[in-house]
Chain length 360, copies 4
């Protein structure tokens, strides 16, 4: 079952609410003897951390991770790794007035209907805060995947404005607060977002994640396909409404001869001269870069009032005054990277189980 | 684990190769005492069946299903339901010449790399033939969901040509060979596909599936979200490259106040005045119609030759002469319906387990 | 979930009722390229087959197995292996009169209470007939384990009479109808069982299964321990009421210095000079022979009438006239072997996933 | 997968080492709106706590539990419940000298072989300390089961001395340090254990756990049988070597007419006039009390030296000077109760999922 766990052999169970004492996760099934310390994880958490610039929520969370088990003298032992992150900047009063009124487009109403109860403070379990634990787990997944496999992500659309792929420069991604690979577009987004913030609104985004150096053969057809698991993992990130692999939705408009990635021989290796498949055929990795994109909707916590209802069944207008991201899609970049890392680590172990060591 | 199973409580395990003696599945976890006979399943299989018009493969498969267990005197018993469909029109000689040459864009090469062996006849396990078992399982899922929950699908884009949503008419879907809800576009697709077939090519498609009458509260946040499971289920269908829920990728370009579906009170009920969410908030069903779309790439089995390699590591040109669908997306409509039914049935049982009877 | 599946990576899903058209199973996760044909499986099914002597049920079932998928040109392909066994000797009339009356000690009443319906013919799903599919799956598990790992079983107690372990001779096991390793006791059992049959009664038994050549390191502590999974697997066999490993219940009476198996060095190897642990420490295999025993209760289908109730809520006396085993424990020997094989195959793959290739 | 998780719908994931900073678990799938606070859990932890008398290890651990998530304003919310217990009395120096020498009969050597690394301090993950998290989870399981279902356990054999069942008095269990239901035997055990401690030895035990008020119909045949899951759960407790249900191993010696529990009508209810089945038929609960027994071997950590090997491959004698239980079976009583509670809670939810509300 998978209420709050994901993965099968590299298995992550997450817990915690936005305004509870802490959040955390348990990573089970990690191979033994991998070097791992808290700094290895902290470095990825710091990338996702809120409050680092004016385009993300101003909640100040150091997100300091502690390893409570599963590591001995700097190495994993094969036993479950418990990760713990204290919540330090909860301001529950920000939410007091909306405890009873449901934000349209937010999980709050649905949780209440499903469970008949909820920790409404800061969105409780449905808060983007939960994604910190995914990033922490992703750091361990990267260790499992090894240095030869690189995962990196970028924001390629913010609101209705897309990057120009001709200007793509991975180095640029680290230089702006948007993970934008196109410097020129990044500058425009800055203005876009400032305008949005002033208007008390928010907007969506599209993120692209790429993994290179992926072993051939990962994926378990036909109901544990690598792309199916990736789609589930990405759609499971807060606010995601669409996922595509390789050519994605554009593939629908292609003809067979244009879509099929030709294969040639280089040295002793098979190489593909295109990558519409996004690195996956028949649910199995081909060794080409895996390319996955996902769309994030605008956050529903905005100043602009929206018609809604409250817990007493009355019609109200709801506007949200707490600290929020004008575009949650920005911080979804490291989360998407982490989810891709976790899915690949899981399938690496699954493939090794059935077929022995993988081809690289 | 989920190599060839999907679902947790309504659990389907499928087996079979395109040119083996039979295909089938085992449906486990079905509630007892539901009326079920072979005709209940056959009716849905007949919709997916190939060879019914000139726009699908000419392979003639009656797809006659037999129930081998789990049903007694016309009712489910709560024990596993084994479904069995004989393969009757295998023509393996069609594939003899390509046994050694890999179709670009096809799973064949990836299977060979992963397993070091494959049943290459007709695509073996990666054949769209496997989807018949999903449709069969979906028929049982519909019984679990009950008559109040309706699932229906339509083709909304074929190649680069989209339907006009203003002309959407569900009744039209049953009147043309494309499950097209727009009669005018259906006529154009007929010409499009005839041209493609003459050219020996193929094209992709976009399918939309809708479920209405869905109980509120289905979905298990945060790692068993209903939309995450739907995304995985749809991406796991052969040739699918993208999945979206509700506004989907278009949500990225919206602003918060446009995207959030307002809530109002009608009678004693909360109603939503829009459905950008596609019926799911925070991974939980809201009672609105669930709307999911997925993109299917063009089939890689085409007459037009593509640069490829063979099993001896030589460069070759591959063209595929067997019987194929010029647009596999067409037959994906009933498959998408079935997958949605299975995911909902699973979550209905999961919700009942944790929270008791569901709200409708 | 595990309603009708067992194992995680070597995963077996079984289906079928005693008097339905067929029984079968799907074995998923099997490594590719293992030589496998129907004869490899049939040889083990023949050992379990009923009607071979006067001490088992006279139902005549050839138990001919067909492989419907997952094997190509004599080798496994890594895709699910569907096994199918037709039921040919159903005589449902034998059961007509007891359809409405519940056999005390039999699953029939419990099934009715749980599901509100049941296929009562021959015990339906609860029939020992289901174990044929376990034996079939076990045959594949043995292929996964390889020739270096030997699994064999014996009956060590029938009714109140135990074998004399000093006379244990594995060769003897194949020479009598009881899988008894002690010829002298086998002769006494023959008389015991003839008397029981004449009396219209039945009795229980204790079975011991041993696996030698087991790699070191199998088992996933602390909730996937090898002994815990073995206990579940054995207790899940029909009519089993107790399971023990190594010294088992007798270990309770030992002192620490007597129970602990001393370790010495022989060549470069660690050897144990005793095996109270039954080959498992801390849930992990040690390389010593794994020894598991389980107790089977007497079958509840006997001629002697027992006070019971019927479906109309009336008190009745029930005696069962169908064809039954006076001691179902006898045929449980090959079933126990198969379950041990399946558990070990599963853990072999699990260990390889997490830790790489196993030590032998 | 189940490396460090157990249960499917009521799912417990445990983590932590004996001498790490803390131990804990995540309980996922708990129904919402159950009253729960830390005191509800602490009361059960206090029963298992070490150092309360001279017959258990003198390690002083307050075992104070904190709830870090999943509970809001005193009620469960349906989201994962994280439980955290700090380790406060680690004295790792006790173990320094045996870090390199393997205790015979202990998991230490097997862990080293499997993982190539281990946290050897105090047994690391294999320590009985891990069972505190099971007891904590069991406290929540009891809430799920409700007040109508009572679970209680007793020690019925310590070393070779068994209780006299004729003197069984449940009230007595709380009055002696052994959970012994027979006051006279408890007095003898006191002398037995004092002698053992002086000798620097240890001994085993047999525990019996009983659940009354169990709903009819729990259990998922044929591979998720209630008794099979119970057997796995009990065998998974540290040092357990045998498990039996109802008549258990003694059933092997019974005849069919003696073993089958007769059924009669009382009022409108079916009642059983015996309970050899231990409350389970065909893997399904019958409403009778569930009775399960398990045997615990003597702890391997004793003062008496045993022939062993060290990490350098040399033969050594090992004696263990740390703080240990002369009979770990004593503290296994609350652990067995907790495991029974967890298995029943899981099956209660599983049954509700498939069949709707359960019968009581």
């Amino acid at each position: 079952m998978s209420h709050n766990s994901f993965g099968h052999l590299f298995r992550v169970t997450t817990w915690g609410e936005s305004h509870g004492p802490a959040i955390g996760c348990v990573v089970d099934g990690c191979p033994p003897r991998l070097p791992l310390d808290e700094a290895d994880i902290q470095t990825w958490l710091d990338r996702r951390r809120p409050g680092q610039n004016r385009f993300t929520t101003q909640r100040q969370e150091p997100d300091t991770v502690r390893i409570l088990s599963g590591v001995f003298e700097g190495k994993t032992t094969g036993t479950p790794i418990a990760l713990h992150i204290d919540n330090v900047d909860q301001r529950s009063k920000d939410y007091a007035e909306i405890a009873e009124s449901y934000r349209p487009g937010h999980a709050q109403w649905a949780y209440q209907q499903k469970y008949g109860i909820q920790d409404y403070r800061g969105g409780g379990r449905s808060s983007a805060r939960e994604t910190a634990t995914r990033v922490a787990a992703g750091a361990i997944a990267r260790k499992v995947l090894g240095a030869g496999l690189a995962i990196r992500g970028a924001l390629i659309q913010l609101g209705s404005r897309r990057i120009d792929r001709a200007r793509w420069d991975w180095a640029e991604v680290e230089r702006n607060p948007f993970w934008c690979p196109d410097a020129k577009t990044a500058a425009l987004w800055e203005a876009d977002l400032d305008a949005l913030r002033k208007a008390g609104s928010s907007t969506g985004a599209v993120i692209e994640i790429e993994a290179s150096g992926v072993p051939i053969g990962l994926g378990a057809p036909v109901h544990g396909k690598l792309d199916a698991d990736l789609a589930g993992a990405m759609m499971g990130i807060n606010a995601v409404k669409g996922v595509e692999i390789g050519a994605g939705f554009a593939a629908a408009a292609l003809r067979g001869e244009t879509n099929a990635d030709p294969m040639r021989i280089q040295g002793n290796q098979v190489v593909f001269t295109a990558n519409n498949a996004g690195g996956i055929l028949g649910g199995i990795s081909t060794g080409q870069p895996i390319v996955v994109r996902f769309a994030v909707k605008p956050t529903s916590s905005i100043l602009i009032p929206i018609p809604s209802v409250n817990a007493r069944g009355e019609e109200v207008e709801v506007s949200t005054k707490g600290r929020h991201d004008p575009c949650v899609g920005i911080r979804a970049v490291p989360v998407g990277e982490a989810m891709l890392a976790c899915v690949l680590a899981d399938h690496l172990l699954r493939h090794r189980a059935q077929c022995g060591e993988e081809k690289t």
